[in-house]
């Protein structure tokens, strides 16, 4: 694509500017970004290797130059600290080593050794003649092997890191002692935890939680995509599961072989398209209508503002599983809406809110407006009040009509302030499980796309489809996991694009 000068660029209309930036993103930023990304990865690996090398060198040199306390610390962690009077640190190091070694001997070694095979002996059935009954002996458990295997690897990494810290401590302590200063006492260590090391104290708990309850499951989920874990291979009670390499990705991404009436790739494409359409409408209808309602309530001369707001925010306060389930029943074929319209004689036949694909798609978007407006109204109310009133005053004196005021002042300001929010709300809507699951459960069914992996509906988002795969007739967790990874890629890509295109929008908008 031809480069244009700044002057030419400034002459373009807003739409053209945006288009230009989008084009530039795909022709320029993205390839460059990717190139840079790989270059950076390469460099990262390079510098990583270098770093490891220098760390190793450091470890060796510390050992060679260190005194006997330091040398013994290589084997008995924390010995140096203990010997130099840093009792608290020493005990912690030692304790960690004991726990680690104990764990590796008692359990970790087993999990680690089973990780490559994910278990060898499945459940076996035996007949007991005495009681005329069958019993099952459960042996290896693939699920636990995978889970605790990963956990053990976590633990080993943590141990290596701690061991390195232990070595470093000795090095530092020797240096400090050599310069004639005193080492920090345990009490001082504790004090630093609420002062200059306070951030570590604050982060310790949240990060442990995130590590165990978010990172570990995500790693596990990614790994499942490379196994054959499903209902018939649950790793314990039916059959063991094992590694299958990239097979599941082939299944999901190939166009010709299919588990249903069409290929998974085609189904994925269809569901993804609708997911994006949904996310677009769900985000922007709410955004603009919410802003509009906020402005309407904020308008001068409107009384009992608080009452209007309170009525609207009921939808935030009442749990969605109540309100959405109820609303879903209201729109059913024999629900209250159809019943009322029929009895009023306005329609002759019940409207197919949930039966017709197009109707259902429009209905979920409309009901989502019902859910979303109040939230947006609350957010925008605050921001609208922050817009300096004199901007409007001067605009009015210049003869701007309300629409011009809106497009020239309100909207740019709002977009500027809420840009990041729009992005998170877009990706949030892509994964909006509750609204779709509670309203339609994905219905109406798309027979062509449905397969042994579970049915797919016209209103299914990727996230509800994924859920259906796990609860479908064959509980194909491996396939759900592949979908999960693809969802991640899509969301990440969109975020990347928007981040690349959005900041320039922000910088250029003017508020004169």
């Amino acid at each position: 694509m031809a480069n244009i000068s700044d002057l030419e660029y400034l002459r373009l209309s807003k739409g053209q500017k945006l288009l230009f930036r989008l084009k530039r993103f795909f022709t320029d930023s993205l390839p460059n970004g990717l190139k840079n990304f790989f270059v950076r990865i390469g460099k990262g690996i390079g510098s990583g290797c270098q770093k490891i090398g220098s760390e190793c060198k450091d470890i060796v040199s510390t050992f060679v130059h260190g005194d006997w306390k330091t040398k013994l610390s290589y084997l008995v962690m924390g010995f140096g600290c203990l010997a130099r009077g840093q009792i608290l640190r020493g005990i912690l190091f030692l304790l960690f080593e004991i726990v680690f070694i104990g764990y590796m001997i008692l359990a970790g070694g087993y999990w680690l050794s089973m990780l490559p095979s994910l278990g060898k002996v499945g459940p076996t059935e035996t007949y007991n003649e005495l009681f005329d009954t069958y019993t099952t002996t459960y042996n290896d458990n693939s699920f636990k092997i995978l889970l605790y295997g990963v956990l053990t690897i976590f633990f080993i990494i943590a141990f290596i890191y701690t061991w390195r810290q232990n070595v470093k401590q000795n090095q530092i302590a020797e240096k400090i002692l050599a310069s004639g200063k005193k080492l920090r006492s345990g009490k001082e260590d504790l004090h630093s935890l609420v002062d200059d090391q306070f951030h570590k104290t604050l982060l310790a708990l949240p990060m442990t939680g995130i590590l165990i309850f978010t990172v570990l499951p995500i790693i596990f989920m990614v790994l499942v995509a490379f196994t054959n874990y499903d209902g018939a291979h649950d790793g314990y009670a039916s059959n063991l599961f094992t590694w299958v390499g990239l097979k599941n990705f082939n299944t999901m991404l190939s166009w010709n072989s299919a588990g249903g009436t069409q290929s998974y790739a085609a189904t994925f494409g269809e569901v993804l398209t609708w997911t994006l359409i949904w996310a677009f409408f769900a985000t922007f209808t709410n955004y603009f209508l919410g802003m509009f309602v906020a402005m309407a309530i904020n308008k001068k001369g409107i009384k009992v503002k608080k009452l209007w707001r309170t009525i609207l925010v009921l939808t935030i306060a009442i749990p969605q599983f109540i309100s959405l389930l109820y609303v879903s029943k209201m729109f059913a074929k024999d629900g209250i809406i159809n019943g009322t319209l029929l009895s009023l004689g306005w329609i002759k036949q019940a409207l197919p809110f949930w039966e017709d694909p197009t109707w259902a798609r429009i209905t979920v978007i409309i009901i989502n407006i019902w859910i979303g407006i109040p939230y947006l109204m609350l957010i925008t109310t605050g921001i609208l009040m922050n817009i300096p009133a004199d901007l409007y005053e001067s605009a009015r004196i210049d003869g701007a009509n309300p629409w011009q005021q809106y497009t020239k002042i309100t909207l740019p300001y709002m977009l500027f302030v809420t840009g990041p929010y729009l992005l998170t709300s877009f990706t949030g809507n892509m994964n909006n499980f509750n609204v779709i699951y509670l309203l339609t459960g994905g219905a109406p069914t798309n027979a062509a796309a449905s397969s042994a992996a579970g049915s797919v509906g016209y209103t299914d988002l990727l996230i509800t489809w994924l859920f259906k795969i796990t609860t479908g007739a064959e509980s194909q967790y491996y396939l759900a996991s592949v979908v999960g990874i693809l969802v991640f890629i899509v969301v990440a890509l969109i975020s990347l694009i928007v981040y690349n295109v959005l900041p320039s929008i922000k910088n250029e908008e003017d508020f004169q």
Binding site: F198, I297, I318, P319, F321, L378, I379, G382, T470
Partner: protein
Amino acid sequence: MSQNKTAGAVAKRHMGLKTSRRIGNTAIYILLIAMSVIWLVPFICILLQSFRVESTWQVGYVVPQKWGLDNYQNLFKTDFPRWYTNTFIAALCTAVLQTVIVLCMSYTLSRFRFKMRQPLMRFMLILGMFPGMLTMIILYRVLKDLGMTQANAVPGLILVYVASSGMGYYVSKGFFDTIPKSLDEAARVDGATRLQVLYKIILPLSKPIVIYTILTAFMGPWGDFVFARYISFGASAGKNVAVGLYDWLSKDQINKSYTMFCAGGVLVAIPVTILFMCLQKYYVEGVTGGAVKG
């Protein structure tokens, strides 16, 4: 353009503005009333149906033919009180613990500048892009090994809600960013530790965001029906209200339990709604102070 003419035009425009504003306001009133009706109808329907005693299934009309409190009385013959207690305990504990975690996280990321800060934030941003749906089955297994499933689901639920809540630091970090850093520095100069800065200076200024965090944390557990279902795994004693009520709408129970579902829904909605209405002011301040800057 003469001076007079301009003044006349301005005056004229003002008059025009007044009438047009009146018309505009009337339109807005009509709109707001219409919206209020639309927004309230489902809730009024639920409320009305919860008092219907002539039948327990879905019917095509809204106003009960016979009124009574039977549905509410029947609720207490089921496990509903247990579910309600479970949810209430989970919500209460989550509200307290999650607030602590979220505030720790966001305060640190807003106030401290340390080496891992940027990578950490980027890491959590990326983590957030993974759909959490599938990780539920893993969390279920982990909790099962810890003995926190089925009848003991409540501590398990609290643990999971709280443990991953650190990811939701954006809003309160945005809020903390708006508190001037000079306040901290002044206190540090006076010899206060970081901890003292936090609870003596920052927290008193952060009432809206603290209340906002407590409120959202409290409201979350009331609506969780997917994960809570996994964790309770068939044990009625471990269900929360959402799972219990959701099951009442299944094919074999809906004819007996539909009006009871409505009554249960009303009882669930009452505390949450009252709390929300009372603290609405802080909620708005929290959202606008934090959400958009995150």
